[in-house]
Symmetry: C2
């Protein structure tokens, strides 16, 4: 505190007079400090979406928090649109890997403008349009992200489209082209074909000739995806049997975001040379908001991995059957395994496909931070067709006169702006 | 027996006279039969390599057998060169999957001339130069193979090169390009880098930019492969530790023909996004010729799969680690799973790479059928550098004056023609 030191004269002695002088100086210092504090602007606040503890939607609060301080190598982004995906739901319930300790700011991806740069941050300028993957903290007006997971967004891509391109399309691209190595004439079983990653996978599949897609989705999503799915199946049918009716030896590729018993069924329905890839475990998010938190917790092993129901695989059996089994998780790849250069190369390819009109994000709805619970309930109920976004500048939807609890119980669909532009929803 | 019927006059009665007449006729018939047999060409015989029972090299005999009869859709090939690979060794010891019942003619691949076509066989003409994958029976002067696993061999490809292209290069191609999806800048751990498949994999790796190969091989093979292997390691070192010294996070791809404990180590040394592929189990062929047969038999489960030492893998762990594990076995893909069209497309690509000089088989030695035991011993002892071939028309090497048993015990290296043409061995 330099002001206080300056107020105490140098060399003041510890005499009775000196004591009185020192006391006077201390009083003066306090007054000066208070004056300085009053004169300095208060620490700036920003609005953000905070998870206050694991559980139901009521654990999420919109709060004012101090603006993030930039660390070396970081980019400060003023968010214009934030993406929501299944891991957000799993985080809320505490069934995500490497469970962090709440309270925390939620959110894994956003699009926005570069507002400031940390020390030694290269590759970006203030004012750049960017999209970013963030290890939490992306659902805020301002987001500080290491430059390693920030990517430039071309002028002609909207904030909304930009906020859809990372979690879903990077996952879809890596699954199809790097891991499954999709080729002409092959067949795929895709679960949750109407969801965010599902829609991205369907679009990427259509860039390859003669691909047969067996897609499972809730019946109410069938209309929206029927043009891109060769054989549409309801989630609840015995899809292995349905596939074998069409293709007795099974499919070349299984992309599974469900896990559990579906993992065993997925591996069983593979053709010779077939590849099964697990990229999510949304089966554990199926119960009621209040009860499945404790249910899911009980499934956890000490290392935070859910092992339930999935049969272990012997590599010699894979050798014997000519099959492959693998898994993919983008957040872990980025934030635990640090594969930034690899992901950046994939983002470049996705931008290129966007530029050439090969992919076009499907947006389900856009919500104000204050209405995040409703957007999330829609995702939980599998009612979304395409991506759910948050817009930090959006005004919350006016609420009808009823208690918040009742509203939540109804999983309200009001409040979000349902996108209706044909260019987007027509996909 | 029409000759006999014709020799017994029609309507001959069973009277005493008739009996005598019948007897005379029978005698006459026998004489006629013998004469006919003498006049008709005897059923044609061919030389082939027969496994008389599972065990050591002495269970293999060169025998004369009737020429194969062509079934519908088959091609009869006069073999000019036959390929030997590790599955032949495993078959001899009875440690192969779907163990057949000896005696049987050995051999999984050959190159030769089309001698005849079965009924309704299309796509080939008598006189065509071909190579073939065969479900056993390929080590013979004449080989009958379904047209589905016969491929045309261009004029400019020698019989010897042709006999190297299927088991090794098809396996190498599928592993690297269809399953591991090898890309620029990636790293590979390859076991038995100096063997037949190993050499093929090394050549295919060099068609991709900037690939780092960690190759394990016996010390005496290092010289021959050092130009294509970035980091040469002895089979006996702790290769995981050696790899981590160079690349702390491991390798992108592990190609494992050893199995057992090497499977667990291979999966452990994978980078994020890494792929482990099991394509052989040569670790079980390591003991003495006489003792490891019973050893290996004891490892068999009822379904003929060797489960020893290999840890099972949980798909959720793969999801958590961003890893993939798979297996590949060409013979099973062809002869149990019937993926003929797929393999034919791969053979086309290999022929194309050969035509463009991108691959060039490395031939270790060529042996007469009678010297098959010596060639096989060399393979068993990992003394071969490149492919071991058999030539049905080759004269056996003159044997020094000693008992055959003593010779076998010594695993003689004499007898085979060591290839020394620079165009082949210079690889």
């Amino acid at each position: 505190m330099p002001e206080k030191d300056a107020a105490a004269p140098e060399g003041a002695q510890a005499t009775p007079e000196g004591d009185a002088a020192a006391k006077a100086a201390t009083e003066a210092g306090k007054a000066a400090e208070e004056a300085a504090a009053a004169a300095a602007p208060p620490p700036k606040q920003m609005k953000c979406v905070v998870l206050t503890g694991f559980g139901g939607i009521k654990m999420i609060k919109v709060q004012q928090k101090p603006e993030p301080k930039l660390a070396e190598g970081e980019v400060l982004i003023r968010a214009k649109a934030c993406g929501m995906s299944f891991p957000d739901l799993m985080l809320r319930q505490g069934v995500i890997d490497n469970v962090p300790k709440p309270p925390l700011v939620m959110g894994f991806e956003c699009a926005g403008l570069v507002e400031a740069l940390g020390e030694n941050t290269t590759g970006f300028n203030v004012g750049d349009r960017v999209i970013a993957l963030s290890d939490y903290k992306a659902w805020a007006e301002l987001v500080a992200v290491p430059a390693t997971s920030v990517y430039k967004l071309p002028e002609n891509v909207s904030w909304e489209d930009g906020a859809c391109l990372l979690m879903n399309y990077v996952t879809a691209y890596i699954l199809l082209f790097d891991l499954a190595n999709l080729r002409k004439g092959q067949s795929i079983l895709l679960h949750s074909a109407g969801g965010g990653v599902g829609q991205a996978i369907l679009q990427l599949c259509s860039t390859v000739e003669d691909v047969t897609v067996f897609g499972t989705a809730s019946a109410h999503k069938h209309e929206s995806i029927k043009d891109r799915v060769t054989h549409l199946l309801d989630h609840n049918v015995d899809y292995v049997q349905e596939i074998r009716k069409v293709s007795s030896d099974g499919v070349d590729i299984v992309l599974d975001c469900l896990c559990g018993e579906d993992t065993n069924r997925g591996i069983s329905v593979l053709k010779p040379m077939g590849k099964y890839l697990l990229y999510g475990s949304s089966n554990i998010v199926t119960g009621e908001t209040k009860s499945f938190f404790s249910f899911a917790k009980s499934l956890h092993m000490p290392d935070n991995i859910v092992w339930w129901q999935v049969d272990k695989v012997n590599p010699i059996k894979l050798f014997d059957d000519n099959k492959s089994v693998g898994g993919f998780q983008l957040r872990r790849l980025m934030f635990r395994q640090g594969q930034h250069a690899y992901v950046r190369a994939v983002v470049d390819k996705i931008m290129d496909m966007y530029r050439h009109g090969k992919i076009r994000p499907v947006i389900d709805s856009i919500w104000a931070f204050e209405d995040v619970g409703e957007g999330m309930q829609k995702l939980h109920d599998r009612k979304n067709i395409g991506k759910i976004l948050l817009d930090p500048s959006k005004e919350p939807a006016p609420k009808p006169e009823k208690s918040a609890e009742k509203e939540q119980a109804e999983g309200g669909e009001n409040g979000g702006t349902e996108k209706s532009e044909p260019a987007v929803n027509g996909e």
